[in-house]
Every structure is written in structure tokens, then in C-alpha cells.
């Protein structure tokens, strides 16, 4: 990605970009042709819908279409703001993503560091295989697993509580606990995947550093604290920057499969994606859904640009583009 804008095109004096491109095209037209399917693909599915953000400023009706529906300015946004929806879903999306990033990376790094300590290769392979397994299943199945565990009547949690003589808990009507359920589920599903990058980074470290530390009498904790963790810093920072850029993007599959249309849980579990989906599919409020989508796209874009700009100032090597 970093190479995307790096200017490796040598521009000599008196040679305009246009003539340079013309020369390149006449030489490499076949390579260009090989990119055409991808170019058309992104044109159709990404670029053509972009002007559709205009939908956020009209009172949409299906018959007139996007550009003939009456223009109402910021009315859609005003309504979302006054109803409190905008604030609620923004807060939830941001807080969940911050929790996912911070806790997720902590667990992933812990797993990678501990995996490196294992000396039984069999145990390492087996545990890695098992921890990677949740990455391969759909979120529909994840939703079923959570139901298996938390369902009031048949859930494993309540079976355990009942057998201990305790009162079973009504999980599906209690919004407070879902913060933890969702974050834990996210960690459960993504730790195996995320720790692979960190583990690969540790594997790439020079073993001589560890040998030298051992000769100097460093304890296991010191080895991790002063060698492994500092060496993981670049990986962590790059992944963090990636994640920060997407901090306004929610994981629809996760939230919708766990919560679905359970309105009692919305105060703590409604995120931008689920709100947009509901507004559109359930209540057919296309303009309102588009307004939220536009707001998300704009602020997400500004966020990526700002993060990247700051990183470029501090440490250019880490910049995304």
C-alpha cells in the first residue's frame, strides 16, 4: 500500500505526464487490459455508488429515484441528531472498536509471546490450530454458539448456575452484560488470526539477542520486557494505525448475529452498521440510512487522513500512504 503513491515515475523536464502515459500505454496496453476487469469492478461497485451519498440530502421516494426526490438540505441529519440516535450509535461504534483494538491486541501479543515460550512443538502446533479455528466459521455460527451458552432455558451458563443452586440469569433482556459478551466474542474469534502476525514477527527476531541476554543472566520477564516487546513495536504500531482508520466502521456480522432484532439490547449494542441496515430494510427509511452512511464515510475518511498525516510527521516509515 505504501508504494501506491510513491513517485517512482521519473519525470524529466519537457516531458509531460500525458505524453509519458501515452508512451507507457502504447508499450504496455496489454498490462492495462489485464487490469481492466478490476478497474471496472471497483468502478461499478465502489465508484458509481459514491455520488449516491446525495441521497442523504433528499426526502427519498422510490419512484422518483435519488436525483429527482425533493431536496431537504440537512433535515435528515437534524432529525437523527435530535432523536439522539446519531450520538448513541457513534458512541457505541467508537467504544466497541477501542475495546476491540486495545484488548484484542493485548491478548494477541500475550498469546504470541507465550507461544514462543513453549518448547513442546506438538503443543504449540495443536494450540495454534485450535485457536485459529474460530476464524474459519461464519458469524451465523458464532451467534448460535453464544445462544448455546447464554440462552435462558437451555444455555450452558444457566445449567451451571442451576446445578449450583443459583438463580438463572435473563441474559437476553439485560443490556448491561452484552458489552462484555460482544467484546469477549470478538476476542474469541480473532485472537488466533491476529496472533499469527505477532508470532511471525517474533520468529523473525535474531536468536543471538536472546543468547546474549541469557549469558548476561536476564530473567524470562526481562527477556520479554526488554527484547521481545520492543521488537514487536513496529508491527503493533502499523496494525494500530490500520485499525484507527477503521474505528468508525462496525462489524455488522458480529453484532447482528449476536443481537439481531432484540430491541431491549439496543442501548448498548446498536452500532452504525446495524442502525443503517434496520433503517433501510425494516423501516424503508432510505434517506435516514443514507445520512448515517454519509456521516460515517466522511468522518471515517477524515480520520484516516488525519491519522496518516500525523504519522507522516512523526515517523514517515509507518505512514500508510
Amino acid at each position: 500500500m505504501r508504494a501506491a503513491t510513491s513517485t517512482s515515475v521519473p519525470v524529466r523536464k519537457n516531458t509531460s505526464y500525458v505524453s509519458l502515459f501515452r508512451k507507457d500505454f502504447s508499450k504496455n496496453w496489454m498490462l492495462f487490459l489485464m487490469c481492466v476487469p478490476a478497474i471496472l469492478f471497483f468502478l461499478l461497485f465502489s465508484y458509481i455508488p459514491m455520488p449516491g451519498v446525495y441521497l442523504a440530502f433528499v426526502r427519498y421516494n422510490y419512484a422518483d429515484g435519488i436525483f429527482k426526490s425533493p431536496f431537504i438540505g440537512l433535515e435528515n441529519f437534524r432529525f437523527l441528531w435530535l432523536s439522539g440516535d446519531l450520538w448513541r450509535i457513534t458512541r457505541n461504534t467508537l467504544l466497541y472498536n477501542i475495546a476491540f483494538i486495545l484488548l484484542g491486541n493485548t491478548v494477541q501479543i500475550t498469546v504470541a509471546v507465550l507461544m514462543n515460550e513453549l518448547r513442546s512443538q506438538w503443543f504449540r502446533k495443536t494450540s495454534q490450530t485450535l485457536m485459529f479455528l474460530p476464524f474459519f466459521i461464519s458469524y451465523v455460527l458464532v451467534g448460535l454458539f453464544v445462544y448455546n451458552f447464554l440462552s435462558f432455558e437451555y444455555g450452558t451458563l444457566n445449567s451451571i448456575l442451576r446445578s449450583l443452586g443459583r438463580e438463572p440469569v435473563e441474559t437476553y433482556s439485560n443490556p448491561a452484560i452484552w458489552k462484555y459478551v460482544i467484546v469477549l466474542t470478538h476476542i474469541w474469534k480473532n485472537t488466533g488470526y491476529g496472533s499469527i502476525v505477532y508470532f511471525a514477527a517474533i520468529m523473525g527476531l535474531d536468536p543471538e539477542m536472546y543468547e546474549a541476554a541469557e549469558i548476561d543472566g536476564a530473567s524470562a520477564w526481562q527477556r520479554i520486557r526488554y527484547i521481545t516487546l520492543p521488537c514487536l513495536r513496529p508491527t503493533f504500531v502499523i496494525l494500530l494505525l490500520f485499525a484507527l482508520g477503521g474505528i468508525l466502521k462496525g462489524n455488522f456480522d458480529l453484532f447482528y448475529n449476536l443481537v439481531g432484532s432484540n430491541t431491549r439490547l439496543y442501548p448498548t449494542t446498536d452500532i452504525i452498521e446495524t442502525f443503517v441496515f434496520r433503517s433501510m430494510i425494516v423501516s424503508f427509511n432510505f434517506s435516514s440510512a443514507a445520512a448515517v452512511g454519509f456521516y460515517q464515510s466522511i468522518f471515517g475518511f477524515l480520520l484516516v487522513m488525519t491519522v496518516n498525516w500525523i504519522v507522516r510527521k512523526i515517523e514517515p516509515d509507518y505512514a500508510l500512504f
Partner: protein, 303 residues
């Protein structure tokens, strides 16, 4: 992943031993926590419905029964139809998507192709800004008229910026001299790609292809958006989703079996269908795991 040679160790100090023990315990529990839900699901699918109602989901079925599976397969048309749809979507989407991604990835890493960086940015920009769900939905439904069409699930997932960049990074490791010498011999770019580059990129194709295939197999979002519940054959994940969330759907799918509605084993049937839908992925997974690991490492570190 290669293990680091530590050489011969004479003595292990206490802190290392403690950390070692802690690693085994922590990772052991974590791995178990990842496996447990699968075991609960399998046990649930083999448990008699009355036992589930009485005891809840257990790790070992208190009363063993295969009734749920019998019901799922008594009306095999629905399950097999879903399977067929999912397999066709997965195979078709993966084959087409993989070819297009490979073609684009190859062109984008050719150092003598000046437009490569501009095209790469054109692709990358779509991850920075998007029109959002509603314009995309209207495009699909109103202009492409893909409602209730399986193409609505296949087409938008054919490519992704991440997979194209992954492919490009993979292909960078193929020496450019191969292309150059073939060009001197008079081969054109497409020929070079088909005859020389593709055979050399088998690991890359396997990795990207598996990512695509897994995506299609687990695809649920596009099906939910564009395929309506009155379609007879739905992709497996949507089929499973409807079964989990809608009681009437279970009753309908067991309707032909002449069982009174109150006797339909709702809970164990959910589990049995989940096992049937996930089985292939879980069985296949240990053999292809390494391709995914390589893809994740190359995609993340070099990206």
C-alpha cells in the same frame, strides 16, 4: 513455522520455568475455550430434545439421539439444494475472482508498467471512502436488478483491495528477469502471465483462492440483503440463519415429515443443521491452515 534453534541448554532458571508453566496453562485453556463451543454444538445435535429441555446443552449427550439428523435429511431437498447453491457460488466465484485478481496483481507489480501505482491507488482508495450501504443497495436492486439472483452474492465479493495487494506482494518475489527474457523471445504480456507466471504462483493462488473460497462459503451478509426468504434454495449460511432465528422456518422444513409441530426438536435441529453447514470447513481446515497463515503474514507485514 520454523522453530528457533536454542542450542543445548545446561540449566533453566526459575523465571523461565515459571513462565514456561504459565504458557502451557494459559494457552491450554485458551485453546480449550476455542474448541468447547464446537463440542457443545456436536453434542447438542446428538441429544434427545427432551434432554436438552431438561438439562440444557451439555458436553456429552445425556440421552443420545440421531432424530435431529434424520429430520434434517428426511427432507433432503432443502439441505442438499442449499449445499448445491453454496458449492456453485463458492467454486464459480473463487475461480473467476482468482483469475481476475491474479491478472491484476501481476500487472500491478511489473516495474516497467508506469500506470501501476495510479491503478493501485484507484483500487486502494475504495477502502478509504465509500458511498455507504444505501447507494450500493439501490445500485444492486434498482439498476442491476439483482434482487433474488445468486449473482448478487457472487459479483460484489469477486475481488477486494486486500486480496489484490496480497497477490501483488506474492508475485513481487518472482524474478522480473523471467518476464524480461520471455519478452525478448517475443512473448506478449498475457502469454507470459498464463504460461510462465501462473505455474510459478501456485502457493499465491492457493492462498488467495482459499481466502476467497472461505469468504464465499461463510457469506451471509449479501445473501441477507439480496435474497428474500421465499427463495427455495438459499446459501447455507442464510439457511442456517433463518433456521436459528425463525421458529416457523424449522416447522416448515420439517413439515413434510408428518410430525406434530410441538414434537419437532427445534433445538437439536438447529445444532444438526449447524454441524452440516460447518462440517466441511472444519474438516478441511487443518490441511489448509498453513496457506492462510502465509497469507496473513505476507498481507500484514509487507502491506
Amino acid at each position: 513455522m520454523a522453530i528457533r534453534k536454542r542450542g543445548t541448554r545446561i540449566r533453566i532458571d526459575t523465571s523461565t520455568a515459571v513462565l514456561n508453566g504459565f504458557s502451557y496453562i494459559f494457552l491450554g485453556f485458551f485453546a480449550l475455550a476455542c474448541l468447547l463451543p464446537f463440542l457443545l454444538m456436536i453434542a447438542g445435535s446428538f441429544t434427545d430434545e427432551k434432554a436438552i429441555i431438561k438439562y440444557g446443552f451439555r458436553l456429552w449427550p445425556p440421552e443420545f439421539s440421531t432424530f435431529a439428523y434424520e429430520l434434517v435429511f428426511q427432507n433432503p431437498d432443502l439441505v442438499i439444494g442449499s449445499y448445491r447453491v453454496t458449492i456453485l457460488i463458492t467454486l464459480g466465484g473463487t475461480a473467476v475472482g482468482l483469475f481476475l485478481i491474479a491478472m491484476c496483481g501481476y500487472a500491478l507489480q511489473r516495474p516497467d508498467f508506469m500506470m501501476r501505482n495510479h491503478i493501485a491507488f484507484y483500487i486502494y482508495f475504495t477502502t478509504l471512502f465509500s458511498g455507504g450501504l444505501v447507494p450500493f443497495y439501490l445500485l444492486m436492486v434498482k439498476f442491476l436488478k439483482l434482487k433474488d439472483n445468486y449473482l448478487a452474492v457472487v459479483l460484489p465479493a469477486l475481488m477486494s483491495p486486500w486480496l489484490i495487494i496480497l497477490m501483488r506482494n506474492f508475485m513481487k518475489s518472482i524474478p522480473h528477469s523471467i518476464t524480461e527474457s520471455a519478452k525478448i523471445d517475443g512473448a506478449n504480456d498475457f502469454h507470459i502471465f498464463i504460461r510462465l507466471i501462473l505455474p510459478l504462483s501456485v502457493p499465491a493462488l492457493a492462498t488467495v483462492g482459499l481466502f476467497l473460497a472461505l469468504g464465499y462459503w461463510n457469506e451471509w451478509y449479501l445473501s441477507l440483503l439480496f435474497l428474500s426468504p421465499n427463495m427455495k434454495y438459499r446459501p447455507l449460511q442464510l439457511f442456517l440463519y433463518n433456521l436459528i432465528t425463525r421458529a416457523d422456518f424449522i416447522r416448515n422444513s420439517a413439515a413434510s415429515s408428518n410430525i406434530p409441530p410441538q414434537d419437532i426438536p427445534m433445538e437439536s435441529m438447529k445444532m444438526a443443521t449447524a454441524v452440516v453447514a460447518t462440517g466441511p470447513v472444519v474438516l478441511f481446515y487443518p490441511f489448509v491452515q498453513r496457506y492462510f497463515i502465509r497469507g496473513i503474514v505476507i498481507g500484514a507485514v509487507k502491506g
